[in-house]
């Protein structure tokens, strides 16, 4: 089936005229029509626009002007502004928002010929690890527990719609964003690959801001190589984002074939949580064995401040969010709730427009930045953040990359971990440290737990050394030979 192809495979098929870009896009649109009512992976499906883009791709292919992604149908996380297509950020407050401009990352993908199927569901303003905070309803993970196939599982978050769409073959790849694990954790929960690049590798311009010192766009896809192809198009310097790195974009796809012979891989002992399932520890040790067999040297390392990543994040990210979300005032764009006076209009608009988790984080952020508490919370957190970065810097003197689990659990059921915000936050314990340090991290599907649910391993690399991350990830992917399929998928 066309929907089972990889991006690399579909590219070859399009160039060999085995099928057309319109065929490929229609196959995905039909899959969306059949399965999205159940999965809710897309908030908006841009059917007509996708068909137009596919026709243009066929014309380009006929003219011999094939680019990196000509005719490849993708899902776009609904956090990227897309010109003329509603962009909600999963929030009620942006329900009526139709951007008059295109984000840099999506503009880069369009430049390279991609087809956009629609806007993928997400946690509200990317704040969540389950997609349960979306104002547009939860997303169903296409994977099912063997013992209890009726339980509806979460796809992870915040890029839950992106990951579910790619796993269920509703899209060949998708954009995500990662602030504390929002690409890697859903990739792990949905049995696909996903990379958070180095902070600064992809432009944040036109991406709805959550925590600006942490937010980073990146791709999810079903193979490591497909992620490399997508990142090659998404990345690049952008003068419109002052934190965008002015560095050349290497050939990530070529890096996937480098192998790991002679590489030194660090295993940090701190990546363990109380109550972490045995399956995850076992898979981690299996990953170590795979890399050793492939020729890597395994080195024990210590990242002593790992456990402080989460509480540091829950000061820094809400602080930045409270500032970034100040713009939603019901005056210039977005939803408005009228009030007695201007202040009342602001307060009612924001009470109506923000969901419970967003409101909670804005309040925490406001508190830790308020007079008298700024030094005790915010400055202290920034100092601990410096120590977390130092842990990585010290480790990378001795090793080329790190191998850790992506998440401390497999996908959980909708409604679980909802009673206590901290329980939900713990999902990101293994992804947040790399976010705090700004270094790249990739989740690779590596095995199944006893319930038949996918588990990911995470490769963390040096700043701007995604090439080594891809090399190690591809080696893991090859050794794991992950071929399990989700219960719900196109043609399944």
């Amino acid at each position: 089936m066309l929907t089972d192809l990889t991006i690399a495979g579909a590219r070859d098929g399009l160039r060999a005229k085995e099928f057309s870009a319109v065929d490929l896009t229609m196959a995905h649109l039909h899959a969306i029509e059949a399965l999205n009512p159940r999965l809710n992976a897309f908030i908006t499906v841009s059917h007509a626009k996708a068909v137009d883009q596919a026709r243009a791709a066929d014309a380009a292919l006929a003219a011999g002007d094939a680019r990196a992604l000509t005719g490849i149908p993708l899902a776009i996380k609904d956090l990227f502004c897309t010109e003329g297509v509603r962009t909600t950020a999963g929030s009620k407050i942006l329900g009526p928002f139709v951007p008059p401009y295109e984000s840099t990352v999506t503009a880069n993908l369009l430049r390279d010929g991609a087809v956009f199927l629609g806007k993928a569901n997400l946690d509200e303003f990317a704040m969540g690890s389950s997609n349960m905070t979306s104002a547009y309803g939860p997303v169903e993970n296409p994977w099912k527990r063997r013992q209890n196939p009726n339980a509806v599982l979460v796809p992870g978050g915040s890029s839950g719609g992106s990951a579910a769409a790619v796993a269920a073959r509703l899209a060949m790849g998708a954009t995500g964003t990662d602030t504390g694990g929002s690409i890697r954790q859903p990739a792990s929960f949905c049995g696909i690959a996903g990379i958070k690049p180095t902070y600064g590798r992809c432009s944040r311009w036109g991406v709805v801001a959550f925590a600006s010192s942490l937010d980073q766009p990146g791709p999810v896809a079903r193979t490591v190589e497909d992620c490399a192809i997508l990142l090659g198009s998404m990345a690049g310097h952008d003068p419109k984002d002052s934190t965008s790195a002015n560095m050349p974009v290497p050939d990530f796809q070529a890096a996937c074939r480098r192998g790991v012979k002679g590489l030194r891989i660090g295993i940090p002992r701190e990546y363990r949580l109380d109550g972490m399932p045995e399956d995850i520890e076992r898979l981690w040790q299996q990953g170590v064995a795979w890399l050793r067999e492939a020729g890597a040297e395994i080195v024990d390392v210590s990242l002593p401040h790992t456990k402080y990543g989460l509480p540091t994040y829950y000061i820094v990210a809400p602080a930045e969010a409270s500032s970034n979300l100040a713009r939603y005032d019901g005056v210039r764009f977005g939803a408005r709730t009228n009030g007695e006076d201007l202040r009342d209009l602001y307060e009612r608009t924001r009470a109506e427009g923000f969901g419970a988790e967003v409101r909670r984080r804005v309040l925490i952020g406001t508190y830790v930045l308020s007079a008298g508490y700024y030094d005790a919370y915010y400055i202290r957190a920034q100092k601990v953040r410096a120590l977390i970065l130092r842990d990585f810097t010290d480790a990378f003197v001795r090793v080329d990359a790190l191998l850790v689990p992506t998440a401390p659990s497999a996908a959980f059921a909708q409604g679980e971990n909802m009673d206590d915000p901290i329980k939900m936050y713990l999902n990101d314990a293994f992804t947040i440290p790399a976010s705090m340090a700004g270094v790249p991290g990739m989740s690779v599907p590596a095995g199944l737990d006893a319930d038949g649910l996918p588990l990911g391993l995470q490769v963390i690399g040096k700043p701007f050394d995604e090439e080594t991350v891809f090399a190690v990830s591809a080696a893991l992917e090859q050794a794991a030979g992950f071929s399990a399929l989700p219960a719900i998928r196109a043609g399944g």
Binding site: G200, S213, H305, P311, D344, V384, R385
Partner: protein, 95 residues
């Protein structure tokens, strides 16, 4: 440090988020739960450590101070909840 009802009302007001009376106590508990958990950062010795403001270890970027964008009020105002001509409309703020 533990939040009381008055502090919750004050930060909600600073954040311009309306909080109904019956929401104050549950919010107070949630926020205290999170802040209590964050307190573990106090065990870290941060003596002599400079705060890290961001992951991008780079110098501030400068560009020539010239107008590079603008001149399309229709685009800018296209998403306004309420407008008159080229202006946003808000409730009256002066008597």
């Amino acid at each position: 440090m533990s939040l009381d009802h008055a502090t919750v009302r004050r930060i909600a007001s600073l954040a311009r988020i309306r909080v109904e009376e019956h929401e104050v106590e549950p919010l107070c508990q949630e926020l205290n739960g999170i802040l209590g958990w964050i307190e573990q950062l106090n065990e870290v010795d941060v003596t002599g450590v400079a705060p890290l403001t961001g992951a991008a270890n780079m110098a501030a970027v400068l560009r020539p101070d010239v107008v590079t964008d603008g001149g399309y009020p229709e685009k800018v105002l296209a998403n306004a909840p309420e407008r008159i001509g080229d202006f946003y409309v808000v409730p009256k703020v002066v008597e």
